[in-house]
Symmetry: C2
Subunit: 289 residues, 2 copies
Amino acid sequence: MKLAVVGLGLIGGSMALDLKARNFVSEVLGVDQNEVHTKDALKLGLVDRITTLEEACKEADLIILATPVNILSSLLPKVLDLIQPYGTVTDVGSTKAKITVSIKNHPKRKQFVPSHPMAGTEFSGPQAAHLGLFKDKATIICDSNDSGAEHLQKVIEMYQQLEMRVLYMNSKEHDLHAAYVSHLSHISSFVLANTVLDKEKNVNAIFDLASAGFESTVRLAKSSPDMWAPIFEQNHDHIVEALGAYIDHLKTFQQTLVAKDYTSTKALMTQSNEIKRVLEKIQNKNIKK
Amino acid sequence: MKLAVVGLGLIGGSMALDLKARNFVSEVLGVDQNEVHTKDALKLGLVDRITTLEEACKEADLIILATPVNILSSLLPKVLDLIQPYGTVTDVGSTKAKITVSIKNHPKRKQFVPSHPMAGTEFSGPQAAHLGLFKDKATIICDSNDSGAEHLQKVIEMYQQLEMRVLYMNSKEHDLHAAYVSHLSHISSFVLANTVLDKEKNVNAIFDLASAGFESTVRLAKSSPDMWAPIFEQNHDHIVEALGAYIDHLKTFQQTLVAKDYTSTKALMTQSNEIKRVLEKIQNKNIKK
């Protein structure tokens, strides 16, 4: 099987590397507008050849679109126009509703399988790509009834090769849950970094006082603005809702502090501790094969 | 040297374990009101003997107070009353101004060295204690001019044995910086957990969609309410200020989203990325011996 990856960043590059290493694909074609990225991807062995989008669509059995989500809206219809009748297209974007609506009536809709592998780090670009990024993580396939059976099967097999757990949701559900569970964490982290940097102008106090807890909480603030602004744009309504809910919860917490009502502060923290159950469940699922 | 540790939790237990393993102390006496903790501490070999507070004060050359900060206010004057003229007392509390003011005029003030080792995990109790918790981390000694030279020296040596970097600040500075760099991270994490748990009632969606990023951001939400409520109480004014600043920054971020002004959203995230420099510096400092 010949694979084409459009967008040679952390996710696209890691998928290329992993699927080649596992012999799921025999050749990987790479497409990227950024010449530094294409050179790095070749040098790092993420792809076998750099091609144009047109060549990739003509040759590939499977095409992974791994660009920022704002580029997908114009890229996906173009790719569907160009691909072979047997070609399958999947994306790895963090938002799903806009993109699926945009190609709802495309004659080749059945060749598209929207997906979202729940993996990543705060780093980006081909240099960040590595083997094993996806192992034991979850991937979401959206609106599976709208994809053709053979195309769906090809994408499921691809994720199974990467040792991911495949889950199914519709696009709207996906976007709502992703806003709370993934996108909001990024905002809380971006803004925490800004709050601390704004206060601690010379960063020495951060350097001196930061513990592992601070590092962990603020890690996502290193994430790429070019990747995240389009996600916030595409999942606008859900994210505004989730952020509003977060601010409301913070205000409730703040009120208990201002009122020196520490019994209530404690009760709120005891509620938060419930997250232990979820995190343990995640760790167990990641440990078990 | 004979060490007494009052409060046999994560920090007290880990210090006992480490200082004994490094032969900095010949015997460790343990004091804790919680009988489960004293039994566990003995069984786990964190301490050699369990004693009363009175016995510990009579026998010890060095006493570490590792209780929640609300207990310190009544405990510290009592310990100072009881200790030998050569005995040194240090605490490991996350807030400093209240406790140092409370014993400002104690005749044995010079025997007390306020300190705050910047280490810990989201776990608590003697079972969480382990070797190596402090290595290459920072510890803050506050108001060092108010401690006697020999007592200060003993505490510095103790932290050097644990391979910690010793830094100096006054109590007020400490509490202000700790509010932003440490205490606020905990609130952002506690409240993020509550926001997500409140929305995702059955936790299945969290389980399915949570990635490593979510885990990292929400990890501190597992922290002990019994430990943190007193910290928020003692550092009240700074924490209310820091939380207010965080909410204001979140509102600014929210405004850019509501206005769909993604250029400004991006600019805010680019500012957040500055935290990279700080985190890299922290990582370098932790790697180098």
